[in-house]
């Protein structure tokens, strides 16, 4: 059961990721989602927004700003705890591994918050996977360009055709137990040095 009355604050310097998370939360029925992408006067703004749940990028140094909300002194309007249950290590592990920290107003029951945390962890993980795939695609593209250049250099210096140049690169890579792109890189570097 989704508890749509909860007010959720998402603090993330990465606008794409926080938009993905907001969308996920809204799709699940949480209408009251606020996003903050700046750390300027963070605590004051959190007090203004007065959320029940705060979700924050683990890599953000401003996590230490939020720690002030754990205090019991009169400066703190609503004491906040991180996570719901000391014993729920699995939930904490999953969050930290996904790179997100969650702060919850003291006294909120676990069942009310769990679906939010599950959603957050899965969206953070999905974002991470997408970023990784994008990085990989970029690397592959760069590798292909490098191999094209190396082929061109070999065709010119050895007077061979394209297929033969490629075969030469591949054979060298296999002999030296290296990746094709690495061999291509050394061909390009060598050409720059001697060319």
């Amino acid at each position: 059961m989704v508890d749509v009355t909860l007010k959720i604050l998402v603090i993330d310097e990465n606008p794409v990721r926080s938009a993905i998370l907001e969308e996920g939360l809204r799709d699940s029925g949480y209408a009251d989602v606020v996003r903050l992408d700046t750390t300027h006067e963070l605590l004051r703004r959190i007090y203004q927004i007065d959320p029940d749940v705060i979700l924050m990028d683990l890599a953000d140094p401003s996590r230490d700003v939020l720690e002030q909300m754990f205090q019991v002194s009169r400066m703190v309007k609503r004491p906040v705890a991180m996570f719901v249950d000391q014993s729920d290590t699995a939930m904490i592990e999953a969050s930290v591994d996904a790179g997100v920290s969650a702060y919850i107003v003291d006294g909120l029951r676990k069942e009310r918050v769990k679906p939010i945390l599950d959603m957050t962890v899965s969206r953070f993980n999905a974002f991470e996977r997408l970023s990784r795939e994008l990085d990989q695609a970029r690397t592959e593209l760069a590798d292909r360009k490098l191999i094209e250049r190396a082929k061109g250099i070999l065709m010119k210096s050895r007077g061979v055709g394209e297929d033969e140049a490629y075969a030469l690169l591949r054979k060298t890579a296999m002999n030296e137990k290296k990746k094709l792109a690495e061999i291509a890189q050394s061909v390009v570097t060598a050409a720059q040095l001697f060319g």
Partner: protein, 409 residues
């Protein structure tokens, strides 16, 4: 929490020619030096250890990763070891502080406009004089109907926060009413000061000097002088790690001891600054780091550096005995500050956590224990002497509100 047996299974061993691997978290600050030196100069390897140092972005991450068992040990704010044991509003993190990494190194940097409010603030090593000046500035601002000053520390359970609070109270200022105290992560300090979000910040080296170099900050006070010769950062260790792997812990302390001796030798300062300057460690100019290591503090851009004695100490003996040996009285002092300022309420629990976190037992088992000290006290600059034998009495004598009983004005 994650069982130690599970961790033993996944922990890689004997991969580096039989070295035992330890994962240790750190924050990019000058006082992570002992860990870096122990790893990079072979002191750890000589003790059979391979240190995996993991750079973190917040003290909160350090604590959480200790709780989860991602780290065996970490560079930690000295009061944090007590706060973590208490689990103040948070997960209980059973940690101990068997080794003190350093004393000192923090400074209060303020905006150029606050610095310019008064010609002579008082000496950079004189908390009483600078505090009295600040009290006049605060009163003048209040009389003009201006907003109270905003001063920042780096974490609620830090020496920075405790230094500011004790100093303000001693000057007759109420830290919760006469000024605004906030937390600003050091990497954001220059921006916060430029934008007028904060008027000053008590931060560890090299950040105050970087604010000066950026033309934004002016250093007013070496805040180590507020409660001299007390721990600044400690090696925080999972209690279960300390219990289950005593040999590894002893080896780590021996490695840190040799690293500390190397660091304290002035001949090694330039090399140390180069080690720390690397982007993956502190990532600051070696020249600024060298000054912090030598205690040469440049108060304003281009100004000649002023030497502050014992600005930053890593090793050897100070007025309170061996610098690296935990003293229960220091833990009790940290707990007393948290109680005084309403961060926690249960005196008995806070003092018990302090005694457990700051036990010298491991240190004394590894090194020859020092001759028993004549007295076990913390002596802040204002004479508010704190005795390990009577922490309750000190608290009773130092209630949070001291606005009407200013000690120095």
């Amino acid at each position: 929490m994650v069982s130690e047996a599970t961790l033993d299974l996944v922990r890689p061993r004997a991969a580096d020619h039989g070295l035992e691997r330890l994962r240790i978290g750190f924050i990019p600050l000058v006082d992570c030096a002992p860990l870096v030196v122990a790893r990079d100069l072979g002191f750890a390897a000589a003790e059979g250890l391979a240190l995996d140092l993991v750079r973190e972005t917040s003290w909160a991450n350090i604590r959480d990763r200790i709780v989860l068992g991602h780290f065996d040990a970490a560079h930690m704010l000295a009061p944090m070891a007590v706060a973590a044991r208490l689990g103040l509003g948070h997960l209980v993190a059973p940690v101990v502080a068997p080794w003190i990494l350093n004393h000192g190194g923090n400074s209060l940097a303020v905006s150029a406009s606050l610095r310019a409010a008064v010609d002579d603030w008082g000496g950079v090593e004189d908390p009483a004089a600078v505090g009295a000046t600040l009290k006049r500035v605060v009163a003048a601002r209040a009389a003009r109907g201006e907003e109270p000053l905003t001063l920042a520390s780096v974490h609620p359970f830090s020496c920075h926060e405790q230094q500011l609070r004790h100093w303000l109270a001693a000057a007759g200022l109420d830290p919760d009413a006469d000024v605004r105290l906030v937390v600003v992560p050091p990497p954001y300090m220059v921006d916060a000061m430029t934008g007028g979000v904060v008027d000053g910040a008590c931060v560890g080296s090299p950040w105050p000097s970087l604010a000066v170099e950026a033309g934004v900050g002016r250093i007013l006070l070496a805040t180590g002088a507020i409660v001299p010769a007390t721990p600044e950062k400690v090696l925080g260790v999972r209690e279960t790690f300390a219990e289950r792997r005593p040999e590894a812990l002893a080896a780590l302390l021996r490695a840190l001891d040799r690293a500390g001796a190397w660091i304290e030798d002035p001949a090694n300062r330039a090399a140390l600054a180069e080690l720390l300057a690397r982007p993956e460690i502190v990532g600051a100019p070696a020249e600024v780091l060298t000054r912090a290591l030598s205690g040469d503090v440049r108060l304003a851009p281009g100004a000649p550096a002023i030497h502050v004695a014992d600005f930053l100490r890593f090793h050897g003996t100070g007025p309170n005995g061996p610098i690296n040996r935990p003293r229960r009285v220091d833990g009790l002092w940290f707990a007393a500050q948290m109680l005084r300022w309403g961060q926690t309420r249960d005196r008995e629990a806070a003092f018990a956590a302090a005694r457990a976190a700051y036990s010298p037992a491991v240190f004394d088992a590894v090194f020859a224990p020092p001759p028993p000290a004549a007295e076990s006290v913390v002596a802040p600059f204002d004479g508010a002497r704190f005795d390990a034998a009577a922490p309750e009495a000190w608290l009773d004598a130092h209630p949070p509100m001291r606005r009407d009983e200013g000690a120095t004005v």
